[in-house]
Amino acid sequence: MVHPDLRVKIGALELKNPVLTASGTFGYGREFSSLIDLDLLGGIVVKGVSLKPREGNPPPRIVETPCGMLNAIGLANVGLESFLKEKLPWLQGLNTAVIVNIYGHTVEEYGAVAAGLSGVKGISAIEVNISCPNVEQGGMAFGTDPDMSAKVTERVVKETDKPVIVKLSPNVTDIRKIAVAAADAGADALSLTNTLTGMAIDIERRVPKLANISGGLSGPAIRPVSLFMVHQVVRAVKIPVIGVGGIVDYRDALEFLIAGARAIQIGTANFVDPRASLDIIEGLRIFCQDKGIDRIEDVIGTLKI
């Protein structure tokens, strides 16, 4: 029986399989370590790290919606210094790719976090969350404007020796423009999508269900949207694309791979089933075996139109 090769390359980054856990849904990895063998994962993308620690938004921060959830965590995190001191050493003991998701409120902040992670052992790549408000531009998200996206990308690339993955926001009219801007600015890869902005209302009390009013929609509800954006972006740029959004099983993962994503990330599904990522890896393996496919690479970008 063939033993399919699940390894994929995202530019210079080599993964043992195409399944990563998505930022913000897997903590710093350790939270899941007593439940699953993390070394079986293609990689872990850790919670977004900022220059300074951030408390996050007031509660309620999450609410369930049909086939999905809204979150307004507010990017709560321990900050760069504590991340390096308290979280990273444990992650360095793992035998899987560790990708650090970063964000900032100014181009300088993005640059400073990237610089702080540069040269640090045990970090395979940096993922840049550009869905954040730019405080110098009236709070408009970096990721909604091609020029701002390019500026952030350029700065991060300049400050670090790690491969740079730019994570795109779906809350735009034409995601290809942002994708091209980030690619031209030097990104090594793109990941998409982040959450879709939405809200929910308590009809009894007539108040928003989230204290922040709006939140980011994730889970199976967004999958078709993310998938189509991946399809569009794969055709618009030459750099590798990582698919994210509503993936809960190996069939969902295959849709993204066939569309041309070279890897995928599992987010909300981790909450529903902590084993989801491992089950997806196993599902991909069995799919390849059943179809006589030697390498998962041979599935990527095979969409027939």
């Binding site: 408390e55 086939c67 965590i73």
Partner: protein, 263 residues
């Protein structure tokens, strides 16, 4: 903590809209302490999507965990139709439990509605007769008989909002009456779980009397593991960091560490 498919041994109605489910979860049962909870995967498909948190109400025969629940929405409505022999994914035990009372303490357990669940577990491992147990409900038909949930012999004082069973009024009035009877020789320690307005009142009473008190709180949860940070709750202003995470730092908290004004 583990995730385990668990067989449903029974799922029976114990009061109006209230059920007790017994799940064969030997590994969870082996670790569980009073005050801890589990996340149950109640949906079979994508809707409802997220797991639902429930306190562990007791352990039976070393491998069975008991969950007492009330139908309040989509997920719990699905749960009440579960049949013996079906199975359900259990994630747990999660969170910190109650800190057990010390020798010489006089424990007082105060429950509101389904808040009785973790306190039944707590009571089950304490010396009979060594504590007081007050439980408030809306009306007589909501009252959960403790022998129904396998804790016979618990000496429970009941209050109901409409007076249809036990004391007419709030369960916190029973607490206040009991506290008034203390002579200073033993120190009362309060354990409370229930709806937020009740817990606020318990907090006010115990903070005012400078009494030791632990409360078990609820929050909307996605992961239950400390990974999503969705279950934040405000710390009191003396604390260095603004938020606790109910699933990990709690659900049981010392009454002093929370910002009751912000809850």
């Amino acid at each position: 903590m583990i995730e385990q498919d668990s067989e449903i041994i029974f799922n029976k109605r114990v009061a109006v809209d209230t059920f007790l489910i017994g799940l064969k979860s030997p590994l969870v049962a082996a670790e569980a302490r009073p005050g801890q909870f589990v996340m149950l995967k109640v949906g079979r498909g994508m809707d409802p999507l997220l797991r639902r948190p429930f306190s562990i109400c007791g352990i039976r025969e070393e491998n069975l965990i008991l969950i007492l629940y009330r139908i309040v929405g989509q997920g719990t409505r699905i749960m009440c139709d579960f049949r013996k022999g079906e199975s359900l994914s259990v994630l747990g035990p999660l969170g910190s439990g109650f800190e057990m009372p010390h020798k010489g303490d006089m424990p007082i357990l105060v429950a509101g509605g389904m808040g009785i669940a973790p306190l039944i577990f707590l009571a089950s491992i304490m010396e009979p007769g060594s504590f007081s147990f007050f439980a408030g409900f809306g009306s007589a038909k909501e009252v959960v008989a403790t022998d129904e949930v396998g804790s016979s012999g618990l000496d429970l004082s009941i209050s109901t909002d409409d007076g249809s069973a036990g004391h007419r009024g709030l369960v916190t009035e029973l607490l206040e009456n009991r506290l008034a009877g203390f002579d200073g020789k033993t120190s009362p320690v309060v354990f409370a779980c229930g709806p937020l307005p009740m817990l606020k009142e318990v907090a006010a009473i115990t903070l005012d009397g400078v009494l030791s008190c632990q409360v078990s709180l609820e929050a909307s949860m996605a992961c239950g593991l400390g990974a999503c940070q969705g279950c934040a709750i405000r710390r009191s202003s003396e604390q260095a960091i603004a938020y606790y995470h109910v699933c990990q730092d709690g659900p049981v908290f010392d009454v002093n560490v929370l910002d009751w004004g912000a809850l």
